[in-house]
Subunit: 116 residues, 2 copies
DNA sequence: GCTGAAAGAAACGCTTCCGTAACGGTCATG
DNA sequence: CATGACCGTTACGGAAGCGTTTCTTTCAGC
């Protein structure tokens, strides 16, 4: 069941969520980091550095750095793939799930506030 | 007319839009910059540095820097307020409007792709 | 006119990001 | 057991972000 939005609704939704996210959270992830985080949590594993780099259209060091940062924040973890020890498997954490749960609530709240 | 989203829809919407935005646009604005840009374009003027700082809950230099960056990108302009020459009035540009128009289209497209 | 407050910008030292390039560890093929 | 390919990380110089602090300009009240 698709969600039909007007141009005004779409931008107002984005505006409200971005604004609240900036006001609430001091971590200030970049759009790339948010993309990576959402991808890890919404798309079935396994997730690798190379795979994410390809999907986002960025270089591998970008992914490594983003994982370093979000790892420090406790939002993701990674461990070596024992089947092919060249690979790193990127995994979810409880804190990461909580972070996205709050983001989801924010989006839902802002959606409710919309009018035509 | 509110927009009712499920948690899954909300995050999938954000995921799709973030991912496409990262893939398409090399400018990679921060969430703060996007908030400022949307605020300028969606909320009636006038907009000042101090006002934006208060709304976003950040310091004034953050706004100044964001306006510098987005000014270089052609997304906003500012000019001195002739009624009170201490103030700067932040204004929209054609490029900024185009940028947000594309963002709006992206959100609408991703909304259409959603399913429960 | 002076003086103090206000608005925005600039300066400072620091952190984090970028892209490119080089690097070690691991697998696969001969 | 070499050799080449592959994966992720690290190193590098540079750009841009941060918060705090210090101007510079302008207004307002006496």
């Amino acid at each position: 069941m698709p969600v039909e939005l007007t141009a005004s609704q779409a931008l107002n939704l984005w505006h409200g969520v971005s604004l609240e996210q900036v006001r609430i959270d001091n971590r200030d992830l970049t759009l790339r980091q948010i993309s990576i985080l959402l991808h890890i949590y919404l798309v079935p594993p396994p997730h690798t550095v190379r795979g994410l780099a390809g999907i986002l259209g960025v270089t591998k060091p970008v992914i490594t750095r983003a994982l370093d940062t979000m790892g420090d924040l406790g939002l993701v973890t990674r461990s070596r793939d024992e089947r092919d020890r060249r690979n790193m498997i990127i995994k979810r954490t409880v804190d990461g799930a909580l972070y996205l749960e709050k983001l989801g609530d924010l989006i839902i709240d802002q959606g409710r506030k919309l009018s035509i």
